[in-house]
Subunit: 477 residues, 2 copies
């Protein structure tokens, strides 16, 4: 165990005073799960983990830390893909866990709102909404661990963005603790409220560098009462986009998800995942998963699905399609999509690119990236898949067969640069839904430099003049 | 004409240099239309009106004004309800008109985006979207004059918020000129982009006090291909809410608008507006307008409308209903709603309250306000109407018959205070969609004081340290 700079005894006593024995952990053994991320890519050190049991306790602790100028790293479910919840290795940064702020304070089926504390796990929020006959639609791979505070602080996206928007769009109000311990009670459940600067929107996506989100008013929706899900083999990337347009133009409110998968990735899923089978007559180079839903029981989504697929078959865009006839078949089709990361992992090493482009440019992104990546590393296998309907494709690259994993991973930055150059040319983003965290502040400087970065720095200095909140994240040093 | 402090001759020359002769107006006669708002409630003075012809010209002018520390009031369509685009009476504040930034730079039916400059009139943007077979759904009374820069800077709402959200929700990216002339090119047409602080969302609703919105990427939607519109007499405020819930729960995506109107307001419309007739068998104390739409031609909205209304008739919520059978009937029903302000004006003086509460509390807001207002001013006639579906009711008050208009209007602040006390008790907002402007900074201080106001002030100081942008608006002095 390295020797860490301890917190000043006076501060420790004061923190004990406001947080109680349950609220502060200094034993390094107990801190271990908090000192690396879930993929083991980022590690840090910390003198203490704070676990306040209420917003008032959290605010009191923040005041003490602010007075002592101790830096603080907020941590929710610790599922960041970019090291966003990791302290650095200095051992000076206290970890602030939101885990005990885990109450659902209110759920109102008339207002269609839920007031959830930051530490509520996303799946728990989904379940609470469902139990009240409603839907909280945010859905992503880490939903069993990720928390409301985390998904809001990173403006998480996921599979249903094409229909319901990002986390930002599902938020009406926030309770926020500022770096100096000041509390903003913005838990207003209003659909219209134009009263000054939208601090809540500034906090969403700020990754805990401007303030701590302690609770949120979330939007609920009527639960779906009709569904239709199909897996389609399509002729090309362009055909996939053409099919998306057909569905969107017919009824944009029915398209809950529209996911692209390359044949190469599907091959890996079919090879590595137990029980995975292709419900189509033959392999294809391109697939899409179409997921339609409606709160209207009589929405006739099957008719909509069949009608559009028939047109697309005639147009030569769709080669073959399988409609799910049961809940089991629906789950099996979704599993083919969701097991992509796991299949990639079993096949070998891979590098992930979380990028987005305008929807119209997705085919070009995939084609150009595929070509550039295989030119960069001969034998490497591009595995693009993801949210075609919102322009966010995970442009992942699987190592060449037989290549040493370490040697391949050593090219990670070359691979990211290769994809990013194309993304930039297509007016896209280097971070679609994972955020900036510890991984990409230099990209932020490069892509959003000049007046934009300067304005961000000014805002950071205004709200956190001592630079205590989640240092080293988002903004470059 | 009062003697104004003129701009320094050197600055005038420099502005001429960057803006050209068309870009600067100093003749006070030509300035007149810009020195009072459309209702004549606010007046100001100004030494010059600047009309840059491009973002580059605007930025260059801002740099000059910043160096000379000259305050600037941005002005779009000048349709603010709260004096948001009016200079003060000092004569020191230059008016910055966005009127020549009026190009639609791009419209992409695949991305479903439009890039519009700030000076594009809302109606022009709607028409351009329609010409491309798409819909830009923001819709409000002033749409023939209000501009894209204005509706974004005030996060305008309107009739279709219940379905499409506020202006904020219809924006993907912004081009912004900062007070020092720095330009942020954030015109990204991305559905997912998590790269640093959401400056675009900070600008929306900031009413031109933090930066000048010069262009925006707007979201487009498929155009509706099915509609159903009905006027209903309902039993009470609670019955109106119950009916809204029935429609929302059946298909929340179909409810384009759901408007409440009190019998007293409808009486005024029927009395004062040429050709206005009630398509129901008898007068009622409460009405709602239900407007359903879908991009699906086969959505069977008539079936949905009739099915829900039948249930509500049986439940005693709905007393009578008239479904529009033609485009003319649809327009006639909407006209009954839209002529409320005009009818109020013809009847006499009235005081407007633009408030919102959680949707569940709308009936209580209306009942309590009606009682409190008639107790405050005996004989005065409450005329509540507006967007029940998003909790934004215009709790207007018509003067008592025979009372002197001036004497009634002298009670304006008492009337606003009376309604606001109830709104506050119901966790509502003193400004739902009109913003703060010159009228309500003191309310902002009272309602959003403490840490929230402090954070707003810090952000203002960070982005506009000299306090040059739209001084006296939003934040209290």
């Amino acid at each position: 165990m390295p020797l860490l700079p301890a917190l000043p005894p006076g501060l420790l006593d004061a923190l004990h005073g406001v947080l109680g024995a349950r609220g502060i952990v200094t034993d390094q053994a107990d801190l271990v799960p908090h000192l690396s991320d879930w993929r083991g890519l980022y590690r840090g050190a910390s003198p203490a983990l704070l676990r306040p049991g209420s917003t008032a306790e959290l605010a009191a602790a923040m005041r003490l830390l602010h007075e002592a100028a101790v830096p603080v790293v907020p941590q929710g479910g610790n599922t960041s893909m970019v090291g966003g919840a990791m302290p650095d290795e200095s051992g000076r940064q206290v970890i602030l866990s939101l885990s005990r702020l885990n109450r659902i304070r209110d759920l109102d089926p008339v207002d269609m709102t839920m007031v959830a504390e930051a530490g509520v796990v996303l799946k728990t929020a989904q379940d609470a909404a469902a139990a009240a006959g409603t839907l909280f639609p945010l859905s992503l791979g880490a939903e069993g661990t990720a928390t409301i505070g985390g998904v809001l602080s990173t403006n998480a996206g996921g599979n249903t963005t094409v229909r319901y928007g990002n986390a930002r769009d599902l938020m009406l109000g926030l309770e926020i603790v500022l770096p100096d311990g000041g509390v903003i009670n913005g838990l207003r459940r209003l659909r219209k409220d134009n009263t000054g600067y939208a601090l809540r929107h500034l906090m969403v996506g700020a990754e805990g560098t401007l303030g701590i989100v302690t609770a949120a008013v979330l939007r609920l929706f009527p639960r779906p009462r009709a569904e239709a899900i199909a897996l389609c083999a399509v002729e090309s990337e362009d055909a996939a986009l053409a099919l998306f347009r057909r569905f969107r133009d017919r009824d944009e409110t029915a398209v809950r998800a529209f996911e692209y998968m390359a044949g190469q990735g599907m091959d890996l899923v079919l090879r590595h995942v137990d029980g995975a089978t292709l419900p189509l007559s033959e392999r294809a180079d391109h697939y899409v998963l179409v997921d339609l839903s409606s709160s209207r029981p009589d929405a006739d989504l099957r008719g909509l699905m069949e009608g559009v697929l028939e047109e697309a078959l005639e147009a030569g865009e769709v080669l073959d399609a399988a409609l799910a006839e049961s809940e089991a078949q629906r789950a099996a089709i979704w599993r083919l999509r969701e097991e992509h990361p796991e299949a990639q992992k079993r096949e070998g090493a891979s590098v992930k690119n979380d990028v987005s482009v305008p929807v119209s440019k997705v085919p070009e992104l995939i084609r150009r990236s595929n070509a550039a990546l295989t030119a960069l590393i001969p034998g490497a296998r591009p595995v693009p898949f993801g949210h075609m309907g919102d322009g966010n494709i995970h442009m992942n690259l699987e190592q060449p067969e037989g290549m040493d994993a370490g040697a391949f991973l050593a090219r990670s930055h070359d691979i990211m640069d290769c994809v990013n150059a194309i993304v930039r040319d297509l007016d896209g983003s280097f971070s679609a839904e994972h955020g900036v965290g510890r991984l990409k502040p230099d990209m932020l400087a490069e892509w959003r430099g000049g007046a934009e970065l300067d304005a961000m720095r000014r805002i950071k200095a205004a709200l956190d003049p001592l630079g205590l909140l989640n240092p080293g994240k988002v903004l470059p040093a």
